[in-house]
Each structure stands twice: as C-alpha cells, then as structure tokens.
Symmetry: C2
Subunit: 554 residues, 2 copies
C-alpha cells in the first residue's frame, strides 16, 4: 500500500487524513504533530482564558487513540518533522520526548504546518509574554495567568483578530487590559471609519486602546511604547501576526511564493509534484485579482485539507481562489468582512464606488432591532463587488455570508437588489439591508445618484458647495456637521431657491432621506451629491482620524 505522510495534525492536516481514509481504506496514513495534541479547536483557545469555554478538554476534538480506532490513522504527537529528502521521498522526524530521530518514507507528503506567531522586539529574559497557537500554549498561558493577581494588568500587543479576542477574554476574566495596535485602527480587515466604533466600544468597557503605537520593550512587569510611555503588565500577549511555517519547505528547495507562503497550484501541489501544502503555510490565490496572498483562516485549511485528499486519492478538482471571509466577536460587537477593503482596492489601482449604510438588523416596528453599519466596495469598471464590511450586534454574520455567496457566484453589486431573502419582522426587512445595498449600488451605477465620501466633504465645502442637512428636527440632537444649512426634506420644495446656483452636498442621518432629497433637488435642476452614509459615517470617519491622531483630510 502507498503511504501518505502529513505534517501538522490540526485543521488542514487532520482534515486531509480523515477524508483520505474515507476514500482509501488500504493506504498508510501517518500524521506527525509537534505539539502534545492533534485536532484541537485553535479558534476556541481564547475563550478558555475567560472561562466562556470552561472545560479545556472541550477544545480537544480528537485524540490519536480515537483517530486510530475510527479512521485507522497513525497520528503521532510530539513528533517534529525536521527535514525532507525529496529524492529519497523521506522525512526526518524527531521524537521530542527523547530526541530520537527516524526516517519515514512517503509516496505523498502533505504539509500543513500552519503559521508561527511573531514576537515583538525587545523582550527581556523572563518577561511573562505569551502567544497563542496550540493547546500547549494555552496550558502555559493558563498556568501563568493563575499567578496574575485578580486586579492585575495585562497588555495585549496587536489589534487584529487574535489580539481583540484575547483582550476581550482577559477583560472578561476581570483583568485590566491595554491593547496596543501599531496601525491607525483596529482590525486591518476593515477600513478606518468602519473600525472606529470598535475602538470606542472597547474603550467604553474599560479596555485601554492605544492606536498607532508599537512596543519597544517588554519587561518582566511592564511594556514600553514608542512614545516613551510605560504600561504596567503582569502578563503580556503577543498577537502581532503570524509567519507561515515555510522553513521546512524552503530547506527542501520548494518554491516559496511572492506572498511569503509555500507556492501551490489549484490542486495544492508544490513545486514538487509529490508534495502538497495547505493551510496557513500555503499561499492562496486571491479571488479578485489572482495574486498570491496569505489567508490564515480555518475554513480554507479544512476545505483544502479535504481537497488534497481527493487529489491524492485520484479525484482531483481544483480549489477556488480565496475571498477571505472573516468575522470576530469584539467584546459583544460583531465585525465581519469579505474580499478587499476600500484601502486595498485603491492601493491596487481600482477605481471604486463605495456605499455605506446604517440599517436595522430587522424591521424597526418589531422589538429588538439593533443598528448595523455596512460598507460595500464596488469596481466602477464593471459593478463587481470587491468587498464588504459589516459591524453590529446582530445579523452581521448573515449579511456578510450572503455577500460572500454573491461574490463567489459572480453576482454584480446591483444584483444584490434582486435577492429574495427570508423576511418576517424578527429576521430582516421587506427590503433587507442586502437589497438596500443593491439599490444604492444600482442608483450609483445608473448615474441617478452621485455621492461623495466622508473624507471628501472638506474639499467640497472649500470649493464652494453648500452643505444641506435634511434631517428631521428631532435628529439634530445627535450632532451636526459644522456649516450645514438645515432644511428638512419636507420643506425643500418651498425653500430650494435659497441655494440656487450652488453645488449642493445633501446629508441626512444615514443617507436614505438625503437620497430622496437629492433626487428631488436633481429633478428641480440642482447640481447635487449625497454624503454617502450620512452623518453617521461622517462621524465615524472623524472619530477614526481623531483616535489615530491623524489629520482629517483625505
């Protein structure tokens, strides 16, 4: 029988192993895993810190014993693969318990070694700094956390997914948390104005968020930031990103891609046809422009694990390029995204249309509706959806999953208007927020509507436009944009002569009333643009710049 050796026994590796067994009962399947456990829920690790997942063993989904009994898989923990001999088709394996080294021959080799946490610079000896990747890491972290006093202080370095999850769970544990983020906003998968409410939400809970800062030193009881400030830290979490584990592959002469991961084709084959790579270590092809890209998500690792088993068993089907749909529970506020941000799209030279909306999670006449903040990034050239973002407490996951499905199927932005989504007042609206994105997109595509973005307002006003606030009187208490002329929609027919001859930027709370106003003014002969996303998006944009201590201009 043939032998398939798999390096890494978690998301990608173990998915490959189980599927391969289902397709081929005869093959030898050997899984080599460096840590003490296989098949654990990486994504659940942060929640044990707070006790939300109280039982540590709930995170262990399979054991070598159960995998042997059910799947006849030979899974060996505390076994590290240290070299690949491509000519001999063997791997060198070190047994970590006794440092014994053996060679194992393979017919096919699958690499799913994942990605290693990066460490900040300037770590002092014995500094209590942790990164979270495996159950072993969690066990070490929990032991150290037990030594932190109940009113202790922790610093989390890094404001991406894992950093936010750790900050949240350490906060829920009752500790004082400071979150240090190098970038100007949290969560690089969002644009700045979408991320601003998250920093405010964490701040309101009492988590200290430091944006645009890096740590320069990590001591045994403090960290030092690049502005010279010193923050007490009984424990430090490093969550500044991960590096794909390419060393083994590179040492064996396999091609590493421009994005930094092991280069593979659509069948997950490396530059050596007997070696496959999947998961966080392997480079993905971006679904929008086909570029090489790292996407470290469990769904892709699991899926590609299964796909590689199909290929090995002789039923190859190419995998699709990656959209990178991602979601996080940021201390009660959900943030999700798919595809490109506006920033990435502009960096890659795309001419984009941008839509911001602030709908309700379901019909407002039914109790319990909560606000959503949504963003759609559209290619002006062909109405293609390049990306979407959503933030809110309810219904965020649903809306992003629908957009991800639409993107995957190649639906244009305007086509979102036509989706027949399930409506009863508990779940959505007769025109679901997704349909509304489609309507707004369609109005932009047809030229019926023209908009400016929050960061373009100052320029418009400087070049002579009048800013018209068409909200109802009761809404003004929420705040106003300096310099705006207030005329509610209902009074426009009478009063529009007041700004005759001037270009008009119209705004309301979210953009919807202003759309009706803009259509009316346009019909009455005015040169009018709508402030996309209204007062709320404008305010979030201002807030993003002030949180980051950045100038307001575009």
């Amino acid at each position: 029988a043939r032998t398939t050796v798999i390096v890494g026994g978690v998301a990608g590796g173990m998915s490959a192993a189980t599927r391969l067994r289902r397709l081929d009962e005869q093959r030898e399947i050997i899984v080599l895993e460096r840590s003490r456990e296989v098949s654990f829920a990486n994504c659940g690790l942060p929640y044990h810190v707070s006790g939300v997942i109280a039982d540590r063993d709930a995170l262990s989904l399979q054991s070598p014993e159960r995998l042997a009994a059910r799947f006849r898989i030979d899974a060996r923990v505390r076994h590290e693969v240290v070299a690949i001999d491509r000519d001999a088709r063997t791997v060198t394996v070190r047994r970590l318990d006794d440092d014994a080294t053996t060679e194992i021959a393979y017919d096919e080799l699958v690499l799913s070694p994942g990605a290693a946490p990066r460490w900040p610079a300037g770590i002092a000896t014995d500094a209590p700094v942790h990164a979270l990747r495996t159950l072993d890491d969690l066990d070490r972290l929990m032991a150290d956390l037990d030594r932190v006093p109940a009113d202790g202080a922790v610093v989390v370095i890094g404001g991406g997914f894992i950093g936010l999850e750790m900050a949240d769970n350490l906060y829920r544990r009752g500790l004082g948390v400071t979150l240090v983020q190098r970038g100007a906003h949290l969560l690089p998968s969002l644009d700045e104005e979408m991320a601003a409410p998250i920093a405010d939400h964490l701040g309101a809970l009492g988590i200290e968020v430091r944006l645009g800062r890096v740590t320069t030193a990590v001591g045994i009881d403090h960290v030092v930031l690049d502005d010279g400030s010193r923050v007490r830290a009984d424990l430090v979490i490093a969550a500044i990103g991960v590096t794909p584990e390419t060393a083994l592959a590179a040492a064996a002469g396999l091609t590493i891609g421009a994005g930094g991961g092991i280069a593979v084709d659509a069948l997950h084959r490396t530059s050596d046809p007997a070696i496959f790579a999947i998961g966080d270590a392997a480079e993905k092809r971006d679904a929008i422009d086909g570029s090489g890209r790292l996407v470290t998500l469990a769904g892709l690792a699991n899926r590609h694990g299964r796909a590689v088993a199909d290929t090995i068993a002789g039923d190859a089907a190419p995998s699709r390029p990656a959209l990178g749909t991602a979601i996080i529970d940021a201390a009660g506020l959900t943030a999700a995204s798919v595809g490109w941000t506006e920033r990435v799209a502009r960096e890659r030279g795309r001419d984009v249309r941008v839509v911001h909306t602030h709908p309700s999670s379901h019909a407002t006449y039914y109790p319990g509706a909560s606000p959503l903040s949504m963003k759609l990034v559209i290619d002006t050239a062909d109405d293609r959806i390049l990306g979407a973002q959503a933030v809110g407490t309810d219904g965020v996951d649903k809306r992003i999953d629908v957009v991800a499905t639409a993107m995957s199927a190649g639906l244009a932005a305007s086509a979102l208007a036509d989706l027949e989504l399930a409506y009863a007042p508990q779940y959505g609206s007769a025109k679901d927020p997704i349909n509304m994105l489609g309507y707004v997109a369609r109005n932009l595509a047809s030229g019926d509507d023209r908009v400016i973005q929050w960061h373009e307002l100052d320029h418009e006003l400087a070049t002579g436009a009048v800013l018209l606030d068409v909200r109802a009187e009761a809404q003004l208490a929420e705040g106003t944009i300096p310099g705006a002329l207030w005329i509610p929609v209902e009074s426009l027919r009478e009063r529009h002569a007041e700004f005759a001859g001037r270009r008009v930027v119209v705004h309301c709370r979210v953009g919807q009333g202003a759309h009706t106003a803009a259509r009316l003014l346009s019909e009455l002969g005015h040169d009018v643009v709508n402030l996309d996303g209204g007062f709320l998006t404008w305010r979030d944009g201002q807030r993003a710049r002030s949180l980051a201590e950045l100038p307001l201009a575009a």
Copy 2:
C-alpha cells in the same frame, strides 16, 4: 403632467408611488386605498395581539399627510376603486365615508390590491370570526378580543404562516388555543418530516394541534370539525389562505393567469399596456420552471412596486422570476424555506436527490449552539438546487438566505461546499452547515455515496437488507430503529463479516458517522447505502405520519 393612479396603498402600491416620485417630480401620483390607512406593516399585525408589538401605531409606517409632505403623493384612504374603463383610461372610485362616486383619469394604472382572506364554510350569524389583513381588521379583532375572558378559548383555522403566527400570539396572550389544519402537516412550504417537530413544539407549549381536519361549522361559541368533534371557541381566526383580488381586473377584461392571479409580463404589464399589476394580486413566474404561481410575500411586493415605477418612468428592467423565500417564527422555533419542497418537485416529475442534515448552529465547543434540521432538494439531472428547508432556534435565517442567494445565482448544490462563509465559533463552524450540505451533495453526485430516505427503509428491510446502527453506545438511549444490528463504527473493521453478502443500510444519529461507516464498508466490498439524515430524520418522518394518522409506507 402625466397622471399615475395606484390601487392599493400598502406594500406594492406605496413602494411604486414613492419610487416614482423620486424619479419624476412633475407627475401626478394618486394612491387609492380602501381601508383607513396606507403603508402599514401587514407582517407585524399578529404581534400586536400578544402585545409583543405593544404600540398599535408602530404598525403604521406612513400617513397620507406625511406622504403628501415628503413625496407630494395624493393618497386617499377609504377610497375604493370599483371599476376600470380601459378605453377612457379612467377608474371609478367610491368614497366609502359618503358613498360618493367619482372618475379619475390615468395615463398609467398600477394595480396592487393584494389578496383577500378566504372564509371557512358554515359560519353562523354573529359568530366571532376574524381574518387579519389590514389595520382595520386588527382594530376590530382587538375590540373583540377584549371581550374574551382571560382564560378564554380560541380556535385558529389554518396551519400556514398567518395561522401559526396567530396561534403563537394568542397563546402568548394567555388564551387556550386550538389550531386546526386541513393538511396532514403544518406549513405547506415544508415537507412533512421537516414540519413534524413544529407541531410537537406547539403541542409542548400547550397549543392543541389538529392535523388533517377541517371545520364544518363556526358557531357563536364553538367550531365543529369534520370528525364531529366540537371545540369551544370564544373567538375564531380564519387563516385558511388568501385569494388574489382579481375581480376589478377581470371585470375590465384583463387576462387572469393559470395560477389565478392577474397575468403580467416581466415588466409587470398586464394584457393592457397602460395597466400594471404587482403584489399578491399578480401572478409570479416560478424561478425553477417558469410556471405561473402565486407568491404572497412582502419582499416581492415591495421590489416589484419599485420596478414598476422604473418602467413607468422610462427605465424598464425586467424583474427576475420568484423563488419564494419565506420564514416564520413558530412560537420560538424558526422555520424557513426557499424554492420547491420535495413533494412539489416529485409532483412536477423531477428526479430528485434529497439531503437531510442536523448540524449545530455554531461550533459545539462554544456554548449556546443549538440544533438545526436542514433539507436540500436537488435535481438529479444537473445538480441544480430546487429547494431548501431549515428548522431550528438559531441561524436558520442565515442558512436559508445563503441558499436563496446561491439559487438566485445559479450555483449547483455541490458548489455550496466551496462557499467561504464567515467563521468564528460563535457564528458557525469551520465547515459551515451550508458547506456540509455541499459536501453531502457532492458525494451523492459523484456516486461515492448512495442513500435511501426515511420512507424507503421499510421497503429495503422487506427486501432483505440488514440495518446497521453504527452510533456510539451513549447515543442509543435516544431511541433505536426496530431490527437494527448495533456495531459502532470503530468495530466495523473487525466485525463486518457478520453481515457479509447482504445489502447494508447503515445509520447513525444524523448521517455523518454513517457516512464514514458507509465509505469504509464500501471500500471493504459491501453493497451499502446510508439512511439519509439518520435516526433523527427517520424519527421525524415516523412522527409526521403518526401525527397525521397516516400509514408509514412511502
């Protein structure tokens, strides 16, 4: 200026009016509405009965005054259109307050009169029977409900969407509720085995569900059923379906479709090019086979209202055929569906593959996951998704919306496996339930897996197959299928000689473990099929038949 007259001032009609105003400031727009209010939330009416929507006026979204001020729309309530003169292009309107009749000339006429509730046979004079369609109906119902004693008894006739919502809200009001349903199961938009848990759920709350029964008489304090039983009823709700309001159109000689609604083209134009029809009164084209079909859903009425305004304003774009995505909160259990049921697909002669799954709403290692029951109906000929159903307490709306999007975009069932859906453990699984449906569908399409349905088991056993239960020992307590041989997956490699030479039907709790077992047995040379959906679907099927007092065979 041209004049557009709109009959019916709620979902379809008013959506047409507002959009038309945005596109054309000059046009006269007259909306004629028979009831006392326009723009009310039909879909919210049932929830005022329980007080879930406490404020009755929250259901009134717009008033004629506000529509005049904001949109310059001339909306006239208590005005009924009684005739259309197509040659003269006028409508005859009766003002209900004084019975005065006038003629109004139109350039374009839009019919959105909705659908009228059907009434059961044998209603006695002064019987307290109500149907719910307008705010006027709600006001009358609430007045009558105030006369029902606190421990009163009500009968709801009809087990469709409105019947279930009314039963739920009357129950929440504290009344004793009997729900009488003509069909063999609740909710005709589901198949019987999917609907069975809903009847049980209502029953567990104390709602008396009578399936396969019709009322033969409605008296002043009781109803009589066709089995002769007499049920006390201080108040009766008729929710046995609706009839499209086609009388006006038919009297004017407009074509009525084979499905019973006003016939329209994809631009919502009737057989008279100056007259358009939308909403519940207009026939839809079915998205799967293009047949004429009634689909009485708010999303379509709103969307087609907007579309007809575009056509009238000179920017016509054909509407898409209808999938009929629908959802209901059945007293805390959500049920949703899209497309065709298995029953409809078979009635229409399709050869179908059916998939049942019972996944968790999110990763089971994270607290709060709840069970889902899902069903996918697939055309064997081309792997096309014909329909989907889901029932559960959480995440049902999301999954059905994703399938609706996939169907709308023409994705095949197998393609669901590749969707990149947002995953963190609070929201889903690394392999989301949608992906799993895709995997199972793909295994069936490739021929790797073969399944039988719950209603085919008796036939298999009668013709000599052995039934193999591969569940873990702890799962047996949930119940067993008579005659099954119990061998857990882990013991199959040793014990499979016990049933050598016989066809094997393998089952587990939900189908997933049995899939691994079936693959193994198939690799070992057995003729094996999996019982689709496992013990749970089999049990739901049995339960459906026993609730309906029907024989078990297919």
